[in-house]
């Protein structure tokens, strides 16, 4: 960074015109934009998590049948008899979602590999990393759609179902956005873009992809495991 000023009266100066625009922030403006975007996303997810925990911890109306069914999470499919959930509880597909989690986490590793590769000028490894990341992200999204079709309840089956679809659907939408970014990076990569000196277009989608992964870890843990 450098700066220079207008000349004093009577002095010849090489610089003409106004001084360069002042960038007060010492963070790169593109990275700062992504940080602000992620900050807003965290607040969005935070509101959904607030609804989830409110319904799960505070609100008996989360039950689909009766307030008594609230004693169970996920709620009973039918009113409990003698304090027991005779008809069984709704079930979250923990195992399938767990496999999906592994896929998504692995895709973060390949994303990291891709960026490190382009930083070292290894174009083939970069492209392989991007393709793998995109394919795994797509696999995650497809698995989630299949999970929705077979989960055994729908959005009308009580507040618990609403927050389940709301949280996982919100995350799925972010995966879809991330996939769009990854697709653009991959296509540009195959067209010869990016180099060890110019890889900002890979780094920012990478940050976003890791953020999506972090949010999924929180969603999976909160909704499926705890």
């Amino acid at each position: 960074m450098s700066t220079h000023a207008e000349s004093l009266p009577g002095h010849h100066d090489e610089h003409h015109g106004p001084p360069p625009a002042n960038q007060s922030s010492r963070v790169d403006s593109r990275t700062l934009g992504m940080l602000l975007f992620i900050g807003s996303e965290i607040m969005l997810f935070g509101s959904f998590f607030a609804a989830y925990f409110f319904i799960r911890v505070v609100n008996p109306g989360a039950s689909t049948i009766t307030p008594e069914a609230w004693q169970f999470w996920p709620p009973c499919k039918a009113p409990p008899v003698g304090g027991e959930c005779t008809a069984g509880q709704y079930e979250f597909p923990v195992f399938v979602a767990g496999v999906n989690t592994c896929i998504l986490v692995t895709s973060s590793f390949t994303m990291h590999w891709a960026l490190q590769s382009i930083k070292r000028g290894q174009r083939a490894a970069f492209l392989a990393g991007m393709v793998l990341t995109f394919v795994m992200g797509l696999a995650f999204l497809c698995t989630q759609v299949i999970e929705y079709l077979n989960v055994g309840f729908n959005t009308g089956d009580g507040a618990f179902a609403s927050v389940f679809f709301g949280l996982t659907g919100l995350h799925g939408a972010h995966v879809a956005i991330g996939l769009s970014l990854l697709l653009m990076v991959t296509i540009r990569g195959f067209r010869g873009h990016y180099s060890p000196e110019h890889h900002h277009g890979v780094e920012l989608p990478g940050i976003y992809w890791h953020f999506v992964d972090v949010m999924w870890i929180v969603v999976y843990t909160s909704v499926y495991l705890l």
């Binding site: 001084p19 992504m34 990291h112 890791h210 972090v214 929180v218 843990t221």
Partner: protein
């Protein structure tokens, strides 16, 4: 505080930490719900503490290009309540004698935070202008040609503005002695030294011992 998403590497590291932390929370929750909650609270507090203590690498000092002929130089003087102190005037006189020097004096319009938030800055600017006028006339009386302006309330912003329009070869900052100077407490001098690649001279003016300088109007903050 360093953002965990400042770079792809940092975000990836944050992801790995998140996986480890939530694995611990799940294991603790399977043992006992209360233990899981306590683990969550403890890990969250630890994460916040770690990130609050992190400091990023210091940015490179900004290069200030020399403007004008090689034989002349420009000196930016930043001062407020101490702007008419004898020590500062002595330093300026010494600089003026060594070679052809252009001076620009900047008086930040220091204001209280409440007045800054409410945009009540007219009195602060008027007081700064009064101090600046007194100083410029005093410099003029001893034959030193100097220009000046009232700067932003934040001394670092005032310096930044002046650097961009004046391009100094040297910066002189005048403050009260350590212990009485808010600027020193806030690290203004060190920050300016870290920001620019020109010499920064720190002049301490002890107004308590110089009754002659106390006639100047006081700002809300120095």
């Amino acid at each position: 505080m360093e953002s965990p998403f400042r770079s792809e590497e940092a975000a990836f590291r944050f992801l790995l930490i998140t996986i480890g932390a939530f694995a611990l929370i799940v294991v603790a929750s399977w043992i006992s719900a209360a233990l899981g909650f306590l683990t969550f609270i403890a890990l969250s507090a630890a994460a916040v503490a770690v990130y609050l203590r992190q400091r990023g690498p210091a940015p490179e000092p900004t290069h200030i290009e020399h403007v004008g002929s090689p034989s002349e130089r420009r000196v930016l003087v930043v001062a407020n309540e101490t702007v008419a102190g004898e020590e500062l005037l002595s330093t300026i006189s010494t600089l003026a004698l060594t070679q052809k020097t252009h001076f620009r004096v900047v008086c930040p319009a220091l204001n209280s935070r409440l007045k800054t938030f409410t945009s009540d800055e007219d009195p602060a600017r008027a007081a700064a202008q009064e101090r600046l006028d007194a100083t410029l006339s005093r410099l003029s009386s001893v034959g030193i040609d100097a220009h000046g302006e009232v700067g932003d309330g934040d001394p670092l912003v005032a310096v930044d503005d002046a650097v961009r329009t004046f391009s100094p070869n040297e910066i002189v900052i005048s403050t009260h002695p350590p212990g009485r100077s808010n600027w020193l407490e806030r690290g203004v001098v060190d920050s300016v030294r870290a920001r620019y690649d020109v010499p920064v001279t720190h002049v301490v003016v002890d107004l308590a011992e110089k009754a002659s300088a106390t006639y100047l109007p006081a700002a809300d903050e120095t």
